[in-house]
């Protein structure tokens, strides 16, 4: 695993919103227990890979001593997108494919919050494909975990944008004919600044990837293979040593800042590599906007809001 995992977290110095008072400082509190973080009982099928991702999200919250009110858990539509209901924290279950812009609205106006987005492959790469590209290129600070199961599960087995060629679904009875999306390549090409891949059958690795993504100051993207036992059983056996497969980590000497090398790793045949493919520390959208605001606010220093507006009105007389 790459050494970037041990980096200290750097929080973006986000929008200096004069308008938004900082929430009152809270007293010294103990970290939350799993019981305090868990909300509704998950509605997933027994054996679904998503259980593992949820459990590891709880573990991350426990480990990093995050409090309920400092987390927002956002999702779109899909099996995996039921996620926010299972977490005892502020959260939103938004419309299909649009969780990223919704979460961006939070991230860009509330620097004090951890914004986590969970979703599936349909949400991320099909209906929400445009948002994936643009949130990545703008480098908006948030953590995005895509539970990729290669199939539409909630609607009961249609072809997904990551379904491999030949996958027999209800919309491709003879086998999928459309070339699948490679999420890693997609993310790297879009300009994502943190791109990692993991699988729900390796809990320690999932936790490590989520934690590294959270600590990344920017758009942190993790693709997590998460088997749909109902509609695509055994899809990821080849990546699971317990099923006779192989879990191959990104080579120790891989330079995570090397975009071309990352792209090459992403092109490996399934099961491919697991770990951090690419990481780039360029400034976030949040930081850039904060810089603009700082400069603009400097020009109206000492003025109350109505006085700033008055200056505009004076010019329109």
């Amino acid at each position: 695993m790459s050494e970037t995992l041990t980096e200290n977290p750097v929080r973006t110095d986000n929008l200096a919103t004069v308008a938004t008072p900082v929430p009152p400082a809270t007293e010294e509190r103990k970290g939350l227990t799993k019981k305090e973080i868990a909300a509704d009982h998950p509605t997933w099928c027994p054996g679904c890979g998503d259980f593992s991702v949820l459990a590891l999200y709880f573990k991350l919250i426990e480990k990093r001593k995050m409090w309920h009110e400092k987390i927002t858990t956002i999702a779109g539509i899909g099996c995996s997108s039921r996620f926010p209901y299972f977490v005892q924290a502020h959260g939103a279950h938004y419309i299909h494919g649009r969780a990223l812009p919704f979460a961006s609205g939070i991230s860009l106006s509330r620097p004090d919050l951890h914004v986590f987005v969970f979703g599936g492959d349909g949400d991320a790469f099909s209906i929400g494909g445009n948002h994936f590209t643009h949130t990545a290129r703008k480098n908006i600070k948030l953590t995005y975990v895509v539970m990729d199961n290669w199939v539409y599960g909630l609607t009961k087995k249609q072809t997904s944008p990551t379904s491999p060629l030949g996958f027999k679904s209800k919309t491709d009875q003879w086998g999928a004919v459309d070339y699948p999306i490679n999420p890693m390549k997609q993310a790297i090409a879009a300009g994502a600044t943190f791109v990692a891949r993991t699988t729900s059958t390796n809990p320690n690795h999932v936790l490590a990837m989520m934690e590294a993504a959270m600590d990344h100051d920017g758009f942190g993207f993790v693709e997590c293979l998460s088997e749909c036992v109902e509609f695509y059983e055994g899809a990821f056996d080849a990546a699971n040593p317990r099923k006779g497969g192989a879990f191959i980590e990104v080579p120790k000497n891989h330079d995570v800042s090397d975009e071309l090398e990352a792209y090459k790793l992403a092109g490996a045949d399934f099961p491919g590599y697991f770990g951090i493919f690419y990481k780039n520390n360029k400034p976030t959208k949040n930081a850039k906007e904060a810089e603009i605001n700082k400069a603009m606010m400097e020009k109206v220093k000492g003025l109350k809001d109505w006085q700033i507006l008055q200056k505009n009105f004076d010019r329109m007389k």
Binding site: E69, Q88, G91, A92, P101, F102, A295, M316
Partner: protein, 606 residues
Amino acid sequence: MSDTIAEASSNGAPKVSRIDEAVIRIAGNSQDGIQAIGGFLARLAGRSEQEVMTFMTIPSTISGGPSIFQVRIGSGEVLTSGDDADVLLAFYQHSYEGHIGSLKKGGIVLYDSDHVQAKPEWEKDYHHVGVPISSLTVEAIGGTAKDKGKNIYALGLIARTFDLNLPKLEKLIGERFTGKDPSILNNALAAFHAGYSHSLGNVLETFKFKESKGKDGHQVVMNGNEALAYGLIAAGVRFGAGYPITPWSDIMELLRRELPKYGGTFMQTEDEIAAISMAIGASYAGRVAVTGSSGPGISLKTEALGWAIMAEMPLVIVDVQRGGPSTGMPTNIEQSDLNIAVNGGHGDAPRVVIAPASVEDCFYTAIEAVNIARKYSVPVIILTDQGIATRIEAFTEPNLEKICQDISPDFTPVAEHKPYDLSAPEGLTHHVAPGTRIQSGKYPIVTGLEHDELGHPTGSPKLHMQMTAKRRKKLQALGASLPVPKIYGPPEGNILLVGWGSTQGPIREAVDRARAAGDSVSALHIKHVNPLPPGLENIFSGFNHVLVVEMNDEGLYGFGQLGALLRARYCDPKIHGVNKTDGLTWKVKEILERTKTSVSAGLRKL
């Protein structure tokens, strides 16, 4: 130029007439800077405590194409930009030929004789004044500027014709060109003075505005898009997201430029859906945010709008209407988005729709929209249109110190929290922003699924019925609390003209003219389109005919969009539509003629 009083002319100098008001139409191409002339005249009127209203058409092409700018300035009340012009300033042959018809008989056509060949057959009906504007501009400025600046030269001609306040105009020109290369200001002033000093030769008459009756306090001069954007800032909005589309783009550009000064920001997103989603996300994060668009963009936003209604999230959505459907007539005016604003989307999805009546009203409507959105936790759509967005008006300067509001979120910890409390008075939902600690340890979820009081999903038919009713009841409560709209004219009579949005001015002027001619006509302006205000049935009962005047198609059943809504609501067979779809604002005489036809047709049916 009604009510002109001629003053005795002496020594053969042109006669000076005292006038109440004037309509000046400037016709040229879109790159000639004719909007600048109109802008100067409007500003000057504002500073002279006069009323002013402008009207412009722009081609939807990128550069070039015929364009007009019409200014109506008055010492008394100005309700419209005027049906016909008193003075036409024509830069080209096509401007001259295309717009002479909009000039009053006996009016003055000032034309650029470098480009326009006057037609002898028109010379007896209109007073022709040819000035080689292009070549005289080149002469005045010299150098390589060519005829750039001829708009300012023409402004000088107009200033002379109407004996406008020279120092005030010079000051306005100075303000406009400060900060640039000083030679630009010098050239502008040179062109202006050359135009002002040009001998008007055979002109027999010049004009002087009567003293204005005086307004309370200072006036500000701006267009509707500006007024709306500044209203949002005054209301405390600090986050917005949008995607460029004409004529909404001006609002997003202004907010992008201004909001950072207040610590806020405006995001240009990848598409319309991302724009509304980002705004909803920011609203959820604690402070009501804004998104907006024009027709086609609003269609794209409707799924997310449904989510905001279901999750009861405050939000302001601006729809600057244009001609539709689809790309339609992107630079023309139409009021054909009322249906999508009131009903657009799937499911039972009540929302608030407000339509400002004037530029000034755009400012205050923005504030009202924000406050309704917050109090009722609901998306509020502001329906403006291309006409109001681009027209300039002068209005009394608001007391910003009093009006500006702070709507910062409150993060004080709460003991427990149920956003969708079914026992809440009037069904009002209250959210606590993320960042707020809830001591019970039970945190709410906001969702598009039908939900229980904490926001967790439910399949319970009973809860769906209760929650659907809750979302409806809060807007019924809002409707009941709205003021009964005031009737313009007597509360009883033969004809009631009902309008909404930017048509308030021409409808009122139509009432004035009809009443002056002895007809029994009153008007009612409906600003709150959804929910409707109380008391309308009583108002309708005072009239024989209720005619809904709208800039949209009469539709399959013949009543227009608001007309159909009022028919469905009040089941009143007196309600009929007066509709048009020519992409232009109502002329007063059109309203009067169409009203007459409609009423006599109705009588025949009886």
